[in-house]
């Protein structure tokens, strides 16, 4: 083991000086500062878009449309979806990757630090553009986060500066940011690994970041093309999608889903990586089937580009297309299943340290399994015809995005917070957070599946009275989920300033990021380490010493 802790460079990293916080508001090119900028900005958007969701859940407590007017309701679900995906999950994962990929591969920074800062600083304007649309005459975009034409071309205010145009602009800026970040990640991971860090010695988090960013690289241009054409239809009276002008609205759907389905894998792959990091550390066992887990990420990445039309089984798709995409969509379950089995086998026979991070890690596997199973059902065309565009899909998607991505992000924060701040989070409050979160999310999203099976269509602000009981349960879960962010928020704020000192390796984890100080100095390593073994050698190599490991239960 390298002892880098004694040879600090770049000042006194363990103790941030009082003026230190200011660098988080600066155009810093340090990947660690940028990582935290991403995470914190994302979390604010998460709280805001979560608030939108809670207003929607309040509206759905009663069958009548009596809390917000219908235009506002439509605006809320549109902004909720757009902000959660582009403003929270993508940035939060980009933040984690930004912070930890260079550390995990033994690099001093990302390949292009200035580009990295630009990628981040494109986000606040994009988010502000979207939020600004609440104040333009026609209000925000109201056609859902898919913005299917022709409904997205309606522009009821008739004003050139309208919510839909701002939505397109905001999404385009998010897209540019994503592409630049993707270039940076791919170059960093492929060309900047430390000596000895061969592909099959990379931690799974690095693998999943690489595959997710490759999807971004080739996928984001598709959605950019889709919304650019939409913009011209909206403002320049072109006829790409507008049937009234000779266009074809289905082309938009193809372009949009060609990216937006793989986008789900962009949101879930890095959290697969997080769980593959967390489970071995706290089970004190190597990751079961490391190579198959790594290869399955690549398979998911490739397959994800051939499944998009399963979102369009009830659009005007012909039979052959329905069948082709049914088979590919089911096939992608195989590499995903391999991962779930591998994680289960990893904790089997382990010596589990049930920390907050481990709770979120196991919780991730438990909830994501459910998402995967309902995903197979949705791939089966006859079932999908019944449940597509119903709450079944909403429930399924949120099991992926919340039960999967958000739970994974929480796991990552509980696991890596000591590295990022040099201080421990409070474990008990972490576990309270976990249980509130876990109960809340199941209460919120399980009833949605049943509502969908009964035939409740998504995106409606009033509904048949027969759907009310389950909607009430769902709303209670939603409010509980809102409450669950409070212990987390206070825990983070309190621990960041007053928490127990973490030391460089509180969990006695293997992995390059734990060989440097917490937080790591500028440029990360005094000496670039040479890697000589596999990433998860628990039980095979000497574990880091117990002393200086305050994370042991």
């Amino acid at each position: 083991m390298v002892d880098v802790t004694s040879t600090r460079i770049g000042g006194e990293p363990g103790r941030p000086d009082p003026a230190d916080w200011r660098r988080y508001f600066s155009f810093s090119t340090d990947h660690k500062v940028i990582g935290i900028q991403y995470l914190v900005t994302g979390f604010f958007v998460f709280l805001l878009a979560g608030l939108f969701a809670m207003i929607m859940r309040a509206e759905l407590l009663t069958p009548a449309s009596d809390l917000v007017d219908r235009a506002l309701y439509n605006s809320l679900f549109t902004m909720h979806g757009t902000l959660m995906i582009f403003g929270w999950i993508f940035p939060a994962l980009a933040g984690l990757s930004n912070y930890f990929v260079p550390l995990m591969i033994g690099a001093r920074d990302m390949a292009f630090p200035r580009l990295n800062a630009i990628s981040f600083w494109l986000l606040p304007p994009a988010g502000l553009i979207l939020l600004f649309s609440f104040f333009v005459p026609g209000g925000t975009a109201q056609a859902g986060w898919w913005s299917y034409p022709p409904i997205s071309l309606e522009n009821p205010s008739g004003f050139w500066l309208n919510g839909q145009a701002l939505w397109i602009l905001g999404v385009a800026v998010y897209g540019v940011s994503s592409i630049l970040a993707a270039v940076n990640f791919v170059v960093t991971i492929v060309w900047m690994r430390a000596p000895g860090m061969s592909f099959f010695r990379m931690p799974i988090f690095v693998w999943t970041t690489l595959t997710a960013q490759i999807i971004q690289l080739f996928g984001v241009p598709a959605v950019t093309a889709a919304v650019v054409l939409l913009f011209f239809d909206l403002t320049a009276n072109t006829g790409f999608y507008n049937p009234a002008r000779g266009g074809n609205p289905v082309i938009y759907q193809h372009l949009f889903w060609f990216y937006s389905h793989p986008a789900v894998y962009v949101m879930i792959l890095p959290t697969f990586g997080v769980v593959s990091e967390v489970l071995p550390v706290f089970a004190r066992k190597p990751l079961f089937g490391y190579k198959t887990v790594a290869i399955s990420s690549v398979l998911i990445c490739v397959l994800s580009f051939f499944v998009w039309a399963h979102h369009m089984f009830t659009s005007g798709t012909p039979d052959w297309m329905r069948m082709f995409f049914m088979i590919t969509s089911m096939a992608i379950a195989v590499p995903t299943g391999i991962k779930i089995f591998a994680w289960t086998a990893t904790i089997w026979g382990g010596k589990l340290r049930l920390t907050a991070a481990m709770h979120f890690g196991i919780g991730f596997v438990a909830t994501f399994l459910f998402a995967g199973i309902t995903g197979i059902m949705l791939a089966a065309v006859p079932i999908d015809i019944h449940v597509s565009n119903t709450y079944f899909v909403v429930g399924h998607f949120h099991y992926v995005a919340f039960g999967g991505s958000v739970t994974g992000i929480y796991a990552a924060i509980y696991y890596w917070f000591p590295k990022m701040t040099g201080r421990m989070l409070n474990e008990n409050w972490g576990k309270i957070h976990f249980w509130l979160n876990f109960i809340g999310l199941n209460l919120l999203f399980v009833p949605m599946h049943f509502l969908g099976l009964m035939g409740m269509v998504r995106r409606i602000s009033s509904y048949d009275p027969q759907f009310q009981p389950l909607n009430v349960v769902s709303s209670i879960g939603g409010f509980l989920l809102g409450v669950s962010t409070l212990p987390f928020l206070f825990n983070v704020i309190f621990s960041w300033t007053q928490g127990k000192k973490a030391g460089s390796n509180p969990w006695r984890a293997l992995g390059l990021e734990w060989t440097t100080t917490s937080p790591p100095p500028v440029e990360n390593f005094a000496e670039i380490p040479v890697v000589t073994g596999p990433p998860y050698a628990y039980g095979q190599t000497e574990s880091p010493p117990l002393s200086e490991s305050p994370g042991q239960p």
Binding site: L72, S75, P150
Partner: protein
């Protein structure tokens, strides 16, 4: 492995199978009544999928729960676990079994879809091919049952209307269908995307403006059902519903006669749907209201 371990596993697998069989049988109660022949096919597939899903779900969640309690490290135990890196046989098994399962599910779903045949022989040509190619489709002889009834459906923002060529082109605001006969809906949209969705029939189809989209199915269970718009279509999207009646053949014929005489409820005037409860929060944003145009033919 010892005999005892093998036996325990066998017992657990049997228990899992029994539990998932029970869940599969329950799954019918999660769904609305089977009002069309297609619903029976879909529900059978759903029951099959739920049974398999429950088996996997209980199996893995049970294992996770067991690990959570059984493998928790004792206080003060800082040692590492036995370093099992993998197991080739196990990994092959959990790759091959899902592959086989996926092929099975895929084949079954394909078969069910083929039997449903909802797009019918006059299948939607997804991307209208150049004029020269299209007749090839039209020339295909109609396979299976030719539809007994053709009804024209028109969707416009927040309103459905149905026209019966069999009853001298009368237009109605509610959809009447004869039980036991294969019907074909010829669907058009006057403005944006809409979706025809009757949960009790288990069928759904988007309606794309500028095209006529055919949808065939066989209603079987007389009763009153609800038609929803399933593709977001604007501010008053949630109000875009209509009543669907599956009538016995005699009742249907009588209805057509009455309809021919003009004694049917007119399409609901969309404007009346805006009478809504007052809201707590009003944005005051301009909206595209329900289409003021009355459907043609009346």
């Amino acid at each position: 492995m010892t005999i005892k371990q093998n036996l325990t596993i066998a017992v657990l697998v049997v228990l899992d199978a029994l539990a998932s069989y029970w869940v599969g049988q329950t799954s019918q109660s999660w769904l609305p009544p089977q009002a069309a022949a297609e619903a029976i096919l879909v529900d059978d597939l759903f029951r099959f999928l739920v049974t398999i899903a429950a088996f996997i779900f209980f199996g893995i969640e049970g294992t996770l729960l067991y690990c959570y309690f059984a493998f928790s490290a004792a206080k003060g135990d800082f040692s590492d676990a036995e370093p099992v890196e993998g197991n080739i046989q196990l990994e092959i098994a959990w790759t091959v079994i899902p592959v086989v399962l996926v092929i099975w599910i895929g084949a079954y779903s394909f078969d069910v879809y083929r039997q449903m045949n909802i797009l019918g022989p006059m299948q939607v040509v997804h991307l209208h091919l150049p004029a020269g190619v299209e007749p090839a489709y039209a020339a295909t002889p109609e396979a299976g049952n030719p539809p007994d009834e053709v009804i024209e459906v028109e969707a416009r923002q927040a309103a459905w209307s149905f026209r019966y060529p069999a009853a001298s082109q009368v237009t109605s605001g509610e959809l009447h269908l004869p039980a036991g006969k294969r019907v074909r809906l010829a669907m058009r949209s006057a403005d944006v995307l809409h979706g025809f969705y009757v949960p009790d029939f288990r069928i759904k189809q988007d309606i794309i403006p500028g095209r006529t989209i055919d949808l065939s199915f066989t209603p079987i269970r007389p009763g009153r059902y609800r038609l929803y718009d399933s593709q977001f279509s604007g501010t008053y999207f949630a109000t875009m519903t209509a009543d669907v009646y599956v009538d016995t053949p005699q009742a249907y014929r009588q209805w057509l006669v009455r309809a021919g005489a003009g004694q049917v409820p007119a399409p609901v005037p969309p404007a009346s749907k805006i009478a809504e409860p007052s809201k707590v929060l009003n944005s005051g944003w301009p909206t595209v209201g329900p289409s003021p145009r009355q459907p043609e033919g009346r």
